[in-house]
């Protein structure tokens, strides 16, 4: 993955999570992966198009998703959720959208033009994701609610 893309994603993930959740966030070591990867249980996905093609995946366990969504809702003085209902899913989707949106804005300022697709959310057990022909950058973020893995797979259009 092009070096210039890495920082915008790492920074915006860190900033948005910190701002929205007001908690301590620890960024893990970044690494690359190319084989099919297990998905923890809740995965919000946003496609990228333009100069590049690819997608960003926000991957977390169901318990983490519920805690994060509750924290976000409470910060807006709304009721926390007990299970991952429509409200919870919409909240997680919104979080993914905020992070990707900010990253793409940063990239735009650097001269890279991307478009986003509307986010989608997948939930389930024992899921896997495989991307052919592109390796993924994994940005692990440790939150008090659990771990979010941000999985960015982008390649240049040749």
């Amino acid at each position: 993955m092009r070096v210039e893309y890495i920082n915008p994603f790492v920074e915006s993930a860190y900033n948005v999570l910190k701002e929205v959740l007001s908690v301590e966030i620890v960024r893990g070591e970044l690494y690359l992966k190319s084989t099919s990867m297990p998905v923890l249980g809740v995965a919000a996905i946003i496609g990228l198009a333009g100069d590049v093609e690819g997608r960003v995946l926000f991957d977390m366990s169901k318990a983490t998703a519920i805690k994060i969504a509750s924290a976000m809702l409470q910060s807006m003085e709304m009721e926390p959720i007990e299970e991952l209902n429509d409200m919870g899913k919409a909240t997680i989707t919104e979080l993914a959208n905020m992070i990707t949106g900010q990253a793409v804005t940063k990239l735009h300022n650097l001269g890279f033009k991307f478009d986003l697709t509307p986010p989608a959310i997948f939930t389930g057990d024992n899921m896997e994701i495989a991307d052919t022909g592109v390796e993924a950058l994994i940005v692990p973020m440790d939150l008090p609610f659990g771990k979010i893995e941000i999985n960015v797979a982008i390649r240049e259009r040749n």
Partner: protein, 470 residues
Amino acid sequence: MSNTSEPVARTQSGEQAQEHKQRLGGLHQHQLQEQDDIETVDYKMVTFSLGGKDYGIDILKVKEIAKFATFTYVPNAPPFVSGVYNLRGDIISIIDLRVMFNLPAQRKPEGSAEDGLILRLDDLMIGVVVDSIDKVVGIVSSRIQPPHPIFGDVNIKYISGVVEKDGRLYIILDVDRIFAKEESASEKPERLPAAVPREEIGLGAYQDDVTSQVAQGAVGKNEEELDLEFIREGLVTFKGFYPDGVADSWLQRRYPEWRAERKKLGSDVQLTGEEDADEFLRTFYSPYSGRFWGEDYIEGVKALLPEEMPKNISVWNPGCGKGYETYSLATVLRMRYSSHILKIWAGDNDLLSISTAPNLVFGADAVPNLYEPYLVEAKNGVAFSSAIKDAILFEYHDVTHTNAVPNVDIIMARDIISFLPPKQQASVLNEFSDKTASGALLILGQNEHISETLGWQHVGSAVVNAYRRL
């Protein structure tokens, strides 16, 4: 000799185990959250300690837990065979795993019983002596992690996995393989008893084929050859450098030279740590590694470039590090083909190095005058102009993963193939062939050579080592 190198090896593996533990610790936590309700124990193992670390053996392989009081010593047996033991009428041999893996053994007072296990393998019963038996631990088999390639005390091929349970890290031994090996090991010559346990200590996957050669070929091997085997292993462990491939001919030349150097200094021929390995590899690296090329190398590369090039020149530069090599190559190509469109895909899997590459700034005196037309003033020094920069795409990328580069005219891969295990070396070379057409140029490290049967003809000079696609 083995005594002097041991402590180093042990601290290293200690650190690795620690690191491994932390990584597994993290994984464990997230898996806990995920698997809270679907967790079922489907694998039980008997755990015990050897040299202060926790190990496990699949309970299905364990016949019973025993205390061995009196062995009958067997003359002429390998050192790790403690003797034979009469188990209610059955005579079984007793192996001391600590001696076998060259781990420190707690000496029991004379006459007291040793803790051990009796294993049942296909048609063989065998007793093993350990420091102490711990307990039976039930785990979820999906939690078993593959062993780290340089795990340390026990050869990786004898480890079927590593698992964390209640904050302890257990190394699961693959007893079938340990004792399958033991049978052939008994053919080893008596005059090399000290070397036997050393070779059991594992150094990574590539060793799979080497150890078997050692095991069978040890007969008649002289000290020099054994030292060479050990150096190969050392290079893998300390530097991730695999000499059994493109760098083999270099190793054959380097070894006698190294032997002479070390003998003169009165130091050990074998590699006892990273420093030794660095010293051994000192003559391996290509000229101008990690800095801009000087005039001689620039001229050398220029001489290899063909007259005719397509209008769009594509170049692949895996393992570009901080980018010095890429910028030098881009400059040479710009000089040579001033009106062509140039595109260089440069990648490295070292995040820190590659992160600095796109915005590399340096002192004006770091480069020969030749580069001057392509430089511009920058904060705190000079940088390459956009004519060069825009031609290069730096990527955080691992060459062993999918390579998204299109077909290219030039590949520059100096000193990276040698740092891949042999299997990956072969697949990367295949990939090089896939991504090129006849006439393409491949520049390898100064001491890396490929067989011409792969479809590459050697065209390099004394300065630049290169191949042309047939």
